[in-house]
């Protein structure tokens, strides 16, 4: 599996939706209400880092086996990348 640098591009940001009491990812024509997992991944990501580092940190923070979460994290990020809500570099 490749190990790109994952970045949140300009024009995409996390927003604390105080009316609905939810974290939301805002981007061009998109407002994605995040569940706990989505929020955990994106808040750890911040403005960006290498995928392997992100997975390490999440595994540590949630005391989860790295192999078990790696695919889910990648799938979540891929889905956003296809919508161009995240960028991959040096893939």
């Amino acid at each position: 599996m490749s190990d790109p640098v994952v970045r949140m591009p300009r024009g995409v940001r996390l927003h604390d939706d105080r009316v609905r009491g939810l974290p939301v990812l805002l981007g061009p024509e998109r407002a994605l209400m995040l569940d706990e997992i989505g929020q955990a991944i994106l808040s750890e990501l911040g403005t960006g880092m290498r995928l392997s580092v992100l997975i390490d940190r999440l595994a540590k923070r949630y005391a989860a086996p790295r192999d078990e979460i790696a695919d889910d994290v990648r799938e979540f990020l891929d889905n956003l990348q296809v919508q161009r809500l995240l960028d991959y570099a040096d893939a």
Binding site: P9, R10, G11, G27, A31
Partner: protein, 362 residues
């Protein structure tokens, strides 16, 4: 009388800042009666509306028109919207966006630019937009937006006279650095309805466009996001207009009239309120125009007992008005609609070769 349940909070606000526009597209969807400059809301009122919208739950603000850059206070409006916590999208033709203004907008916190495209080459683009030099100007704006690192979406308005250029349009969007492209087929409201014969694509064009988009979605995967909604006249079921009336978004016209959708003013039986008359939350929750077609109670057959009624909400109320003369009718493009024959007759009667002259929006 029973109380109507509180509607969910709206997600998007379309602020039509002005009806003034340097272009004169024959498919303009603005109302036949345009609002004069003197009647436009002032800066402070718009700023209040943005704050009220954010308090109500709106996340996305679309600044539109007309051409929003025709407003000299556009930078101030962007700043006010950002201060309210909104995601600010500018929907523009690019005309009037000088380098200096783009800089000021960026400074004010603009999140995203959506640039409309009338054609893939100067010839057709300037003919459709009715503005000489518009295409070249637009290309400069696109370059300037991308050079600043602002995310760019290209909004390609497609119809019979440019749909064959779709593959080229997608290529151009990617080459210029657009992160997204919206392939928007002309919809027939307001001014556009009178040019329908000249603009409605043929079935063959629509089929070809679907193939082109499917291939492009694969080819550009991960590089450019593509949104495409085929024209509903050729569909079996209507579009889920606005995600259901009064459920996800609202529009504010240049004079402050609050509408459940961009074309709602075409429904004569509706009574609208202005942001200067009542708070936005009051209008959203209790406004008669918003309550008129919320939920299912307004539906008649075949929608009322149809199992798709929660999927498409009976389609578009404005299209029902325009084609069937009844805003509570099933959207006439629906195959179950008793008025579907009207749509089929229109498709049958499309000119085979020579297209009629278009009436430009002047």
């Amino acid at each position: 009388m029973r109380d109507v349940p509180v509607p969910p909070a709206p997600i998007a606000l379309l602020a039509e800042l002005t009806h003034r526009c340097p272009l004169s597209c024959p498919y303009c969807s603005n109302p036949l009666e345009l609002t004069a400059r003197e009647a436009e809301l002032d800066t402070a009122t718009w700023a209040r509306v943005f704050a009220e919208a954010a308090d109500l739950g709106v996340l996305q603000l679309h600044l539109s028109g007309g051409e929003p850059a025709s407003r000299r206070d556009l930078e101030e409006l962007v700043a006010a919207a950002r201060a309210a916590g909104l995601y600010v999208n500018l929907i523009t033709s690019g005309i009037g966006l000088t380098e200096a203004r783009l800089g000021a907008l960026e400074e004010a916190g603009l999140d995203h630019v959506q640039l409309s495209l009338q054609g893939v080459r100067a010839g057709i683009a300037d003919r459709i937009g009715g503005y000489r030099g518009g295409f070249d100007r637009k290309m400069e704006v696109a370059r300037a937006v991308v050079a600043r690192g602002l995310p760019l979406t290209l909004n390609a308005v497609m119809h019979r006279q440019n749909m064959d250029d779709l593959a080229e349009t997608l290529e151009m969007a990617h080459a210029m650095g657009a992160r997204r492209i919206e392939v928007a087929c002309v919809q027939f409201y307001g001014w556009a309805l009178r040019n329908r014969e000249a603009l409605l694509p043929t079935r063959a064009q629509v089929e070809e466009a679907k193939r082109t988009v499917a291939a492009a979605v694969r080819d550009y995967r991960g590089r450019m996001a593509i949104d495409f909604v085929p024209p509903d006249y050729y569909a079996d079921y209507p579009k889920a207009c606005m995600g259901g009336w009064g459920s996800t978004g609202l529009n504010v016209a240049p004079d402050g009239t609050v509408l459940p959708c961009h074309a709602a003013g075409t429904i004569p039986s509706l009574r609208f309120q202005k942001v200067t008359e009542a708070p936005l939350s009051e209008i959203w929750t209790h406004g008669p125009a918003f309550k008129a077609f919320r939920g299912h109670d307004w539906m008649s057959e075949p929608c009322r007992s149809c199992d798709r009624r929660d999927i498409d909400h009976g389609g578009c109320r404005c299209q029902a008005m325009a084609l069937a003369g009844d805003p509570a009718a099933t959207d006439p493009v629906c195959r179950f609609s008793p008025h579907r024959a009207l749509v089929d007759a229109t498709l049958e009667a499309l000119p085979k070769e020579k297209l009629p002259e278009m009436a430009y929006r002047r």
